[in-house]
């Protein structure tokens, strides 16, 4: 177990390092940000000065080393557009994204997993078929389009909910969050539902597949032969087994939901990091792009690492090592 953790940890470090190179090279190959930033009427001398100021005249590997050295000091550079520290910029936007993602994941889990369990337990019933049809809608219809429909319906036509932006913040347990106010909730609910639909579809299908498979195993038949009622078989035997893959995917999806927030934040004009990255791509704000992508990579690596360990904890076959 200890060896397993160490090897995973080393792998994670290698991944972060490799990805930082790829991200850096990739992003720095995009266009020339000076053209975007500078007044076309500016003199060649001004232009050269600006290029030198951002270190853009240096060879790429040197730029990367400078970048690494700065990162080591906690400095990820300055945004070329906002002209502020990138770290500060990203972290000021992060809470908004996190609260959106958490609400979305909560909705997807609370509805998706029970629905999937039911659909897997009674695969032939009408309700199960309806659940499955909805799950196909959930993960196939593009998020931005559903978001738009939601705005048209609940904001424009009915006028019940605001069409975008983040609501008032309040303080809850010392954390400043819009989830502490009613106005905040009215702003978050629509984007969160929008963001949750894809995950919900996925969770339903995953849980159902696990359930259907588990119900056909010998240990379930054996439990039935012992006279255990179905309820007990589902809750004591089966759930324990399917919880392992579900928890794994849940963790992995946490990360991808964060990435998907890009779309929802754009539609609902939500002031999170997703909106920030879209804006920075459109304005070629390199430091912001690099910071965001590296942040995402690190987040993914941490999540994967945690999921691996949780998985190993949950499954006694991994935890204790097989004897045969």
């Amino acid at each position: 177990m200890f060896g397993f953790i160490i090897s995973r940890f080393l792998q994670a470090i290698v991944v972060v390092f490799a990805m930082s190179i790829i991200v850096f090279v990739g992003v720095y190959a995009i266009g020339n940000p000076i053209d975007v930033m500078i007044d076309p009427a500016a003199t060649a001398e001004m232009r050269a000065r600006l290029i030198a100021q951002y270190g853009l005249d240096q060879p790429l590997w040197r730029q990367y080393l400078t970048f690494l050295a700065n990162v080591a000091q906690g400095d990820l550079g300055r945004s070329m557009v906002y002209n502020t520290s990138v770290t500060g910029l990203v972290f000021s936007r992060l809470p908004a994204t996190l609260e959106l993602v958490l609400v979305a994941i909560a909705i997807a889990t609370i509805i998706g997993i029970p629905a999937g369990i039911y659909a897997g337990y009674r695969p032939k019933s009408f309700a199960s078929k309806a659940i499955m049809a909805l799950s196909i809608l959930g993960f196939s219809v593009p998020t931005f389009w559903i978001g738009m429909l939601l705005i048209m319906g609940f904001a424009v036509e009915l006028g019940w909910l605001p069409s975008g932006g983040r609501g008032d913040e309040g303080t809850f347990l010392g954390i400043s969050t819009s989830l502490a106010t009613a106005n905040g909730w009215s702003h978050v609910i629509m984007p969160a539902v929008n963001l949750s639909l894809f995950k919900m579809g996925l969770m339903i299908r995953l849980t159902r597949a696990g359930m259907v498979e588990a119900m056909q195993t010998d240990y379930v038949k054996f439990a039935r032969a012992q006279g255990l009622p179905d309820r007990q078989i589902v809750f004591k035997h089966v759930l324990r087994n399917i919880s392992i893959p579900v928890v794994t995917v849940f963790g992995l999806e946490l990360g991808s939901t964060l990435a998907f927030a890009v779309v929802t934040e754009s539609v609902f004009n939500w002031p999170g990091v997703g909106k920030l990255i879209i804006d920075s791509i459109l304005t070629l704000d390199r430091p912001v792009m690099v910071t965001y992508l590296i942040l995402v990579v690190i987040l993914f690596v941490i999540i994967n690492f945690t999921v691996d360990i949780v998985y190993a904890r949950l499954d006694p076959r991994v935890r204790l090592g097989g004897t045969k």
Partner: protein
């Protein structure tokens, strides 16, 4: 003496796209307390479906469509689903073929067994665990106390099968259905389990239905034998009768096919053809197109003819010498 298990006219059908198939066709037998009945058949003969039908554990698209299953004095077929469930594990229980699959891999042995105890009898967990430990001891598992805390993957195949048998024994059922429980095990382990089962049957007076394809196993273990072919019981009698003086040509063919008894290198006596598909059975006697003794009369279903307790479903049974 009343039988622990008395099956009469049990019939199970499966609705498939190719039409309805009768997997268990009018099967009748009874087992007395403390006796072991070997239910022998090749793959597709319906022997496992018979086992599941007895417990009422046939899933869609199958259904038990007729017959009577008396366990002690209750007909399981007339019970409500809930009442039937309360019989399972308490009066009649089952052991499966693959010991690697029958135990839940993520639950401790003790917890699984305690669950099986408490579903039929209300008692605290600690007491249920004690019962589980005793059951493990009975089936010859060393240091049962420690095994309770183990997960299935920490035990060998033979040990797991003992755990499964112990679980089946928890409520001292009148009947245990054992579906090929030693097929997946090595010969030496198989021998140990067989000896253990024989002892348990004698000591606990449990009636055991031992489903298998292996004639060698039943001939050493069983008191009585039923031979199944294409969903029907074709021969029934005591082990000595069926093994020593088979009357059905199929039973005879099966016994002769075993290589051990013949001159090395000689051609083995063989049954021609292959096991029929249940959806394409010949009319009348299902064995007739593979049978050396078949005649025109075999296109009609043969009757059961008995000499003493030894009965055979054949128009032309072999003579008893």
């Amino acid at each position: 003496m009343t039988a622990a298990l008395d099956v009469k006219g049990l019939t199970t059908r499966f609705d498939t796209r190719a039409g309805t198939v009768t997997a268990v066709d009018d099967v009748s037998f009874s087992v007395e307390p403390g006796r072991i009945m070997g239910l022998v058949g090749e793959s597709g003969s319906g022997k496992s479906v018979t086992g599941f039908s007895i417990l009422g554990l046939i899933d869609e698209p199958g259904r038990v469509s007729g017959g009577q299953v008396m366990v002690e004095d209750t007909d399981l077929r007339t019970l409500s689903p809930d009442a039937l469930r309360s019989m399972r594990g308490r009066k009649v229980s089952m052991v499966f073929q693959d010991p690697m699959m029958t135990l839940n891999p993520v639950l401790r042995i003790g917890d699984q067994m305690a669950m099986a105890v408490r579903v039929h009898e209300e008692m605290p967990q600690a007491k249920a665990l004690e019962r589980a430990r005793d059951a493990l001891g009975i089936v010859g598992i060393p240091s049962p106390e420690e095994r309770l805390a183990a997960y299935p993957h920490q035990l060998s195949g033979g040990m797991r099968q003992r755990v499964a048998i112990a679980t089946a024994l928890l409520h001292r059922p009148a009947v245990i259905i054992a579906d090929e429980p030693t097929t997946a095990l090595d010969v030496s382990i198989q021998g140990q389990i067989l000896a253990e089962v024989r002892r348990l049957a004698d000591e606990t007076r449990t009636a055991i239905v031992w489903i298998t394809h292996d004639l060698a196993v039943v001939s050493s273990l069983a008191d009585d034998i039923c031979v199944m072919y294409a969903g029907k019981i074709v021969e029934r009698g005591t082990a000595e009768e069926v093994i020593g003086q088979p009357r059905h040509p199929y039973t005879r063919g099966l016994l002769d096919s075993v290589p051990g008894q013949h001159e090395p290198g000689a051609r083995l006596p063989q049954i021609p053809g292959s096991t029929p598909q249940l959806s394409h059975l010949p009319s009348g006697c299902p064995f007739r197109n593979r049978c050396p003794r078949a005649t025109q009369v075999c296109t009609t279903l043969p009757p059961f003819t008995s000499t003493g307790g030894h009965s055979v479903l054949c128009h032309h049974p072999l003579e008893v010498s």
